[in-house]
């Protein structure tokens, strides 16, 4: 299937991000991506009361299950609606919507199955050291299980084609889904390409991401899902 901007679904997993979401939607539409799906992961900040454009699909998780579960709901919706692919983007405005085109153009040039927007391939990104450390640990874990070095396994900015969505099924619900997804993708020999993207960290986005306790939980959850399949 040929991927065009008209058959790509932009998935935004959202948990208590009501302050940014309208602006983000406006910016994404401004880049020519009109299929947008917000997955509200049990937010408590009255996202339902926002004046969101009716063309935007909103899926509601009645309780919070984590970013992995929310992303997976978006994936399932994309498959049900027969989209050719998806782009996932974080809702906290840390990503630059201009990079939607970077991901899309890279797909057109390379035809990889997944294009990952890597924060670490762009030298001028100001990334907090603690985030670099978390990411490095996650990269090493992914390398151990897949024997492939990816510079940004935890990136939430990805273009994923339909054939990957059809084959890769997520088991984890939290942040660990990023590692799980990459490991499964590589196990099925899909082609991954990384492209540099901009990232902007603010105090707000730093509070939203993974802390030490959350990082530990993520690691345990990933291991338990790898070793204790039921």
């Amino acid at each position: 299937m040929i991927l065009t901007k008209d058959n790509i679904l932009v998935i935004i997993p959202v948990f208590n991000e009501a302050t940014h979401i309208e602006e983000l939607i406006r910016l994404i539409k401004g880049r020519g991506f009109h299929n947008i799906c917000i997955v509200n992961d049990g937010s408590t900040d009255n996202i339902e009361q926002l004046n969101i454009d009716e063309s935007v699909t909103i899926l509601h998780h009645i309780i919070n299950r984590g970013v992995g579960a929310a992303t997976d709901t978006g994936f399932r919706y994309a498959l049900l609606q027969k989209f050719g692919g998806v782009i996932t983007i974080d809702a906290d405005m840390q990503h630059d919507v201009k990079d939607l085109d970077v991901l899309f153009d890279s797909y057109q040039e390379n035809e990889a199955d997944i294009i990952i927007g890597s924060r670490f391939l762009k030298a001028d990104n100001q990334i907090p050291k603690i985030r670099i450390l978390y990411n490095r640990i996650a990269n090493i874990l992914v390398f151990i299980f897949s024997n492939t070095w990816i510079t940004d396994t935890q990136s939430g900015y990805k273009l994923i084609t339909k054939k990957v969505l059809e084959k890769v099924h997520l088991r984890t619900d939290g942040y660990e889904f990023c590692s799980e997804f990459i490991i499964k993708v590589l196990a099925q020999n899909f082609k991954i390409k990384e492209v540099p993207i901009h990232v902007y960290y603010t105090d707000y986005s730093m509070n939203k991401g993974q802390g030490i306790v959350n990082g530990y939980k993520t690691m345990i959850s990933l291991f338990s899902n790898i070793f204790f399949k039921d």
């Binding site: 997955v39 009716e54 063309s55 699909t57 899926l59 509601h60 998780h61 009645i62 309780i63 299950r65 579960a69 997976d72 709901t73 399932r76 919706y77 049900l80 088991r171 619900d173 338990s224 204790f228 039921d230």
Partner: protein, 113 residues
């Protein structure tokens, strides 16, 4: 006779009663009730005749001290129960997530754009 030799069997009998009651009211399966009763029965036996049971146990397991034998066996049982609990919680978490995802997609299907 020590006090614990009266207390432990009393508590164990109480828990056996609870297990049987839960089976009768349909909250537990027969297998679950039987397993719990067996565990409590073993605890009663150890409390009433500790030396007889633990010395035999130590001989069977090849552990020199009867106290060590009972500690190792208890730890083993506890780890087994903990592992079962872990798997159950994991399975339930998965089921809940699956339900939440299906509800989200179903609700969208029902709502015209």
């Amino acid at each position: 006779m020590e006090i614990y030799q009266i207390l432990v069997p009393c508590i164990a009998v109480l828990f056996m009663y609870v297990s049987i009651k839960q089976y009768v009211s349909g909250k537990n399966t027969f297998f679950e009730m039987f397993t719990w009763c067996l565990i409590w029965f073993f605890i009663i036996a150890v409390a009433i005749v500790p030396d007889l049971i633990t010395v035999h146990l130590a001989q069977i397991l090849g552990i020199k001290s009867n106290i060590n034998a009972i500690i190792f066996l208890s730890l083993g049982i506890l780890f087994f129960l903990q592992y079962n609990l872990f798997l159950t919680i994991k399975r339930q978490n998965k089921t809940i997530s699956e339900l939440i995802k299906k509800i989200a997609l179903e609700n969208k299907k029902d709502t015209p754009k």
